[in-house]
């Protein structure tokens, strides 16, 4: 619990750390400090120290609360002495859980030290709170992708504690090395930040474009044709001139493009890797067949003794050979057929590791791929690739393979676009847009009173409210659509096929008598693992069907856009009471995040009436949500309708409040 809680501090630490530097720069209070008899480096170190104290205080508080909760509600206070087992492919006991927590805590602090130093450097260069916050989130996100490569030289991998805890004695040495390296990197970054903040170019560095000549700009303006909707255009201009909006957008665009190209380019690698595995398997069975045949020829084995094994091995060898030949000829249908046979064969040897429901869905998908004549999915580690996206795979099993970072790859635009949602990138994008865009009226009242400028123009209140709402909504929708369009166009130019009919599994809750497909056990869902399955829940069996992945993608984009619009409308409403910009945007994200957790894990089926569960677009669009909450109507279209209703309600209530309060909020 302590470690889990601690991992979430990193984002808070980043936000706090960047504001501790940039807020002073923006507000001008920095000058007060700089005119005191204190050296710049001491100021920098003091701020760094303050950030660390803040984070340690937070961590200690989390640890104490967790310990108290565990003691009072859990297994008692002696639980800190319980032995802990660290599993990294083999079992290794390192001692009491208290020691594990202390060592993990130390590693975590080292990780944070490096993150804080990175953000300090960013703050010294960029000097804009929200840009640094976004860059910090990117840094942490990208860093987390390197976690798998545990190395002393990669402080991001310190979060992956278990890799360091191979044995109790080695552990101490490992941590000392990590400590030295983290301290070294951090010192280097801090000194660099100090250097940047003292140099003239560092102080003058600005992201603003070059200033234009006044007279020329006036002439240009006079020549331009008059356009309608001046207030709406002004609001759009305001949004687009805020670096806090544009920079995250550009970063997201670049990030998604890089992700897309990486997904596309890895396809051939994954394909080759899968082929290599099949070749190795085929060779191994070929050797086995040869050994058995040699044994029979040399009289070591009696023919009847090995007859069955020989036949089995020959079948298996032929199965791999079939797949290898299909791979070499690039015959998609035969590849899919071969993958299916191998998957069925391999999973039959793994016992309960592969639930039958997972196997059924995988095999049906392969058939559908053949039928729809689209390219096959490859993975570096077959047959595990078929497991990772299945809602029937057990969490306890997935825990092992999650750390192996197994991914599936398919080269089409449709599939890669779909993976943006299923890999959680869409929700990260939504959170980033919500932080930068969902500010409502707080950008007119936070450290400013620009709302008064609007109130002293011949503008009706309705125009002010709806102009702002529409501008924020239009920019959000445009940015999402631009990212989607550039993403798809970029992949298209790179050679990725569209394959809009790639089969997307859609789970069906409560199949009726007319259902002719494979029936799945609802009780086998991961969601119910370790829980008593309620017998009163109607319909033990669920089914599945296939549809074009393009349709699923469109549904997910619609849900994403509508969720974003609801957040914008909520921020418009909340900003009339909360004037602080960060308070409104982060508050909106926090409320929606908490709302999602409440809907998913507490309200469950009842959460359908709130606008939160729809934030997990793949859960809804694939039908998983309807299956796990046993609610037939839980699908994308209902989500779109409910989000539209919430949007209308929030806009209505927000406007009512706006028209009642004073003109100056």
């Amino acid at each position: 619990m302590i470690i889990g809680g601690g991992k979430r501090v990193q984002f808070q630490a980043g936000t706090y750390q960047d504001s501790i530097f940039t807020e002073e720069k923006n507000s001008g209070t920095e000058k007060i400090r700089l005119t005191q008899p204190v050296r710049r480096i001491n100021i920098l170190l003091a701020k760094l120290g303050a950030s660390l104290v803040y984070i340690f205080a937070f961590l200690i508080a989390t640890a104490l609360v967790s310990y108290l909760l565990a003691g009072l509600l859990g297994g008692g206070f002696g639980s800190i002495h319980y032995p802990v087992e660290i599993d990294i492919g083999y079992i290794s006991t390192i001692g009491p859980v208290g020691k594990y927590v202390a060592l993990a805590g130390l590693l975590y602090c080292l990780y944070l030290l490096v993150i804080i130093s990175c953000i300090t450097l960013l703050a010294a260069i960029v000097k804009e709170t929200s840009i640094v916050a976004v860059l910090g989130i990117f840094l942490i996100t990208i860093g987390s992708r390197w976690q798998a490569n545990a190395s002393h030289f990669n402080p991001f991998s310190f979060l992956n504690f278990q890799h360091f805890f191979t044995s109790s004695s080695q552990c101490i040495t490992e941590i000392w090395i990590a400590f030295g390296i983290a301290l070294g990197i951090s010192s280097l970054l801090t000194l660099l930040a100090h250097y940047v903040s003292t140099t003239t170019w560092g102080q003058n560095l600005s992201l603003s474009p070059k200033e234009k000549e006044g007279n020329k700009e006036l002439t240009k303006y006079e020549k331009k044709r008059a356009l309608p909707l001046p207030y709406f255009r002004f609001e759009v201009l305001k949004i687009m001139k805020r670096k806090t909006v544009v920079v995250p957008f550009i970063l997201l665009l670049v990030f998604t493009m890089l992700y897309g190209f990486e997904q596309y380019s890895q396809y051939e690698r994954f394909r080759d890797s899968e082929l290599a595995i099949y070749r190795t398997q085929a060779e191994s069975y070929w050797d086995s067949i040869n050994r058995l045949q040699r044994g029979v020829a040399e009289g070591i084995f009696k023919p009847e003794m090995v007859e069955e094994t020989l036949a089995d091995n020959t079948d298996t060898y032929n199965m791999y050979l079939y797949a290898i030949e299909a791979f070499e000829r690039r015959d998609t249908a035969k590849i899919a057929e071969g993958q299916k046979s191998i998957f069925k064969y391999e999973t039959s040897n793994w016992g309960n590791f592969y639930p039958p429901d997972t196997i059924s869905v995988y095999c049906a998908t392969q058939d559908e791929i053949i039928k729809r004549q689209v390219q096959t999915v490859h993975t570096k580690s077959p047959p595990l690739g078929g497991l990772i996206s299945s809602p029937f795979a057990m969490e306890s099993d997935l825990k092992h393979i999650k750390s192996w970072h197994i991914r599936n790859s398919q080269p089409s635009i449709t599939y890669i676009f779909n993976s943006l949602f299923k890999n959680g990138l869409a929700i990260i994008a939504l959170a980033i847009f919500a932080v930068s865009l969902s500010v409502g009226f707080s950008d007119e009242t936070h450290d400013t009173r620009t709302i008064c400028l609007l109130n002293t123009q011949p503008l009706h209140r309705k125009r002010i409210y709806f102009g702002k709402l529409l501008a924020q909504s239009a920019v959000f929708i445009s940015m999402i659509l631009i990212i989607a369009a550039v993403f798809c166009a970029g992949l298209g130019i790179a050679g990725s096929p569209l394959e809009k009919n790639f089969p997307a599994v859609q789970y069906l809750n409560q199949v009726d008598g007319n259902y002719s497909g494979v029936k799945l056990w609802r009780a086998n869902l991961r969601e119910f693992e370790g829980k008593a399955f309620s017998a009163s829940s109607s319909g033990y069996f669920v089914g599945f069907t296939f549809r074009d992945m393009l349709v699923e993608n469109i549904e997910m984009v619609a849900l994403l856009i509508l969720s974003g619009l609801v957040m914008v409308a909520f921020a418009m409403f909340a900003s009339q009471k909360i004037r602080h910009k960060i308070g409104v945007s982060l508050g909106t994200v926090l409320i929606f995040g908490m709302g999602y957790l409440a809907s998913r894990y507490a309200l469950r089926g009842a959460g359908i009436i709130f606008p939160f569960i729809w934030l997990n677009q793949p859960l809804v669009a694939t039908g998983e949500a309807s299956m796990i909450f046993d609610v037939n109507i839980l699908n994308s279209l209902v989500g779109i309708a409910i989000l539209a209703l919430w949007l209308a309600a929030l806009v209505f209530v927000g406007y009512k409040m706006f028209s009642k309060t004073g003109r100056y909020l």
Partner: protein, 291 residues
């Protein structure tokens, strides 16, 4: 018809009553100043009449229409303090916005920019402006629609002497062209030179006064023998004579300067002479005290 008609206006912040049943009429062509110490309610009053904040009671009419009617802003401008500017936008962005929402011709932007003389910095972002630059931009935005009624909150705040003279001239010109001007200011010297009427705000109430009755000339002389000269001047009668910082201060009280000069020159040698107008400041001190 009054340009501004305020009747029994009250405004409180919590229990603190900032404006207590105040009334005010401003007629076309007048240039009226609103004066009072910090926190007396000047800006609150201007915000109330502009409907930027809600009033507790009373009525406000601007150009014959209720102040809640946003259409009045086509012919009425309110120059608020510089916190209303968007730091990340340029001055030109602000001017374009005001021009377009008020449905003005695009030439109006150039005219206002050239009148105030801000062409060299309108393409800069406002966050890079000095206080004086912001004030000039706000003024340009306020005169963009050639208003019939112009309200300004501390227009001289942060301006350099050259710009103060420029703004003063502009306001006088606007007045000559028929614009009614209502401004709040702490700069009593400017108020003295421009306005005919002053509205003093004291304890939430208004004291409206014709400033001319307080305007009088005081001459300060530096002479070799001040003690005997003071005696001779006092003997002239009608004059108010006193010593201030080693100088002889003389209020001529209708006698005129020439007889005083002649008398001093007969008795003593004038080393230096200067004139001060004591008007609004005198009344201000009498109302609020020196501290």
């Amino acid at each position: 018809m009054s340009v501004l008609s305020v009747k029994d206006l009250s405004k409180s912040y919590g229990k603190h009553k900032v404006l207590d049943n105040v009334s005010l009429e401003i007629r076309p062509g007048e240039l009226v100043a609103l004066v009072g110490p910090n926190g007396s309610g000047k800006t609150t009053f201007l915000n109330c009449i502009a409907n930027v904040i809600n009033i507790d009671s009373g009525t406000v009419e601007i150009l014959g229409k209720p102040h809640t009617d946003v259409s009045i802003f086509h012919k009425y401008s309110y120059m608020i303090d510089n916190t209303v500017l968007y730091g990340y936008l340029t001055g030109l962005d602000h001017l374009k916005f005001v021009c377009e929402t008020r449905k003005l011709s695009k030439d109006a932007v150039r005219k206002a920019v050239e009148t105030i003389g801000i062409k060299n910095f309108i393409t800069k972002k406002v966050k890079e402006y000095s206080l004086g630059m912001k004030q000039q931009l706000l003024l340009a935005m306020a005169i963009l629609n050639e208003p019939d009624f112009l309200v300004l909150d501390e227009p001289f705040n942060g301006l350099d002497p050259t710009t103060i003279i420029k703004v003063r001239k502009l306001l006088m010109e606007l007045r000559e062209q028929g614009t009614t001007v209502f401004l709040s200011s702490h700069n009593l010297a400017e108020v003295d030179q421009m306005t005919s009427h002053i509205v003093f705000v004291k304890d939430g109430k208004f004291i409206v006064e014709d400033i001319s009755k307080y305007q009088e000339d005081v001459y300060f002389f530096k002479v070799k023998n001040p003690d005997s000269t003071i005696g001779h001047l006092q003997a002239m009668g009608q004059l108010t004579v006193y010593r201030e910082n080693g100088e002889i201060a003389v209020k001529t009280e209708g006698v005129g300067l020439n007889p005083v000069l002649e008398r001093i020159q007969q008795m003593d040698e004038i080393e230096s002479m200067r004139k001060e107008i004591v008007g609004a400041e005198k009344r201000y001190v009498s109302l609020y005290g020196e501290t």
